[in-house]
Symmetry: C2
Subunit: 261 residues, 2 copies
Amino acid sequence: MEAPIGLFDSGFGGLTVMKEIVKLLPNENLIYLGDTANLPYGNKSPETVIRCARANAAFLLERGIKLLIIPCHTACCHALEILKQELPIPIVGVIEPGLQLVHNFRRIAILGTTSTIESGLYQTQIRKQNSNVEIFAKACPLFVPLIEEGFHEHITAKLIAQHYLDELKGKIDAALLACTHYPLLRKVLDEELGANVALIEPAVGCAQIVKKILVEKNQLRIQKEKPHYQFFASDDPEKFRKFGKLFFGTVIEKVEKNKKL
Amino acid sequence: MEAPIGLFDSGFGGLTVMKEIVKLLPNENLIYLGDTANLPYGNKSPETVIRCARANAAFLLERGIKLLIIPCHTACCHALEILKQELPIPIVGVIEPGLQLVHNFRRIAILGTTSTIESGLYQTQIRKQNSNVEIFAKACPLFVPLIEEGFHEHITAKLIAQHYLDELKGKIDAALLACTHYPLLRKVLDEELGANVALIEPAVGCAQIVKKILVEKNQLRIQKEKPHYQFFASDDPEKFRKFGKLFFGTVIEKVEKNKKL
């Protein structure tokens, strides 16, 4: 099926998930929308995040997507269930794959933006699947700007990680990276939390769920022509193009500006 | 004249200017709008900042303000001249007072957000008033999130200041704090740049210009009843109320949500 898969995120982070989709589903056409005019979502209220998420989804639906991925934890926490009820296509978020991956751990840290942690969604869902767990939910609001400004290998990233995570040392078996930016801090987090703590990223699991749905619905794209990747940003496409490479791993050739979101 | 003075900013920073207005013009009624749904402005494009600035100004004009203050350098760089042409009331920004204060220095650093520095406005204006100056323009994009997350006295604030400012050491006589958040980093900047470098804040100068205009137009409020301060935020009024104190210096009792901006 030629129709593309759509993804939206507040900015760049979701490109780490798109990278996994490209790996697992290399034939699919993809449209990515970075809502950079409204970033970040992580310190905004549920109401504002829901308004942005609806506008993003509408923009992608107009482009005929067959499935929507929301590779942004904050948007998933506030808007995933709402959009599932409102939209006529399958929607895959990053919460479910994260939950599956922490299933076998008993002492779990959830690291995310303020808005994600305050939503309490991960805490509730993890407890629902296993009431016998210890949960440590920790907002790490400076991680995103540090990464977006290229400081993820700077000494300050380590010091700020210490500030946030010192209290978790020796108390956890796994840390769920509930923000798509955080994999760029993997080295720092490994050093800070110790090698015996599993760092859980939902990106691969998300791609697997998408594949499963498309197989079941017989909607995989099987044409042999090269797939088409389209990128949109709601602010400053050129900045998105340049900076996106850090997250996507390969050069992004062209980014279009979408209308005001 | 009972009509209030209006102020808008992307968030909290402009409250440091409002504080100076309260000191110099203690009888004036004031309305402050923090456009927290769209913050930060400092990493957004001119087009997006202009769109937000127009919406903010319209919101305040509807409330009958007699004068508009834009205590946000990024908004001033992109939208001050545009709004001056479009609106029927006097508008005071933070650029002119800053320029007046650096007038007697020969080696000047401009510290601001990426968007402010990239606009090139300060560089052009400073050179216009004195072609015989050395200008060092430096974007310091992590300062705002550090301050907004309460890290302005943390060791990382010092290390990040070093990262940005090391190259300026010994080369400047004055540093213009071209972002209303930066006064909260005064101690760190003093240590990093040295006591012989003047740190220039335009807030007081901005208040003086406002007073001069109101005196000339005979629009000062002279009633003896206590003035009325109204606060609006476009996202999460309660967060604005709590966090605003850090910038305003006194407790903010009530913040109202404005309509979607």
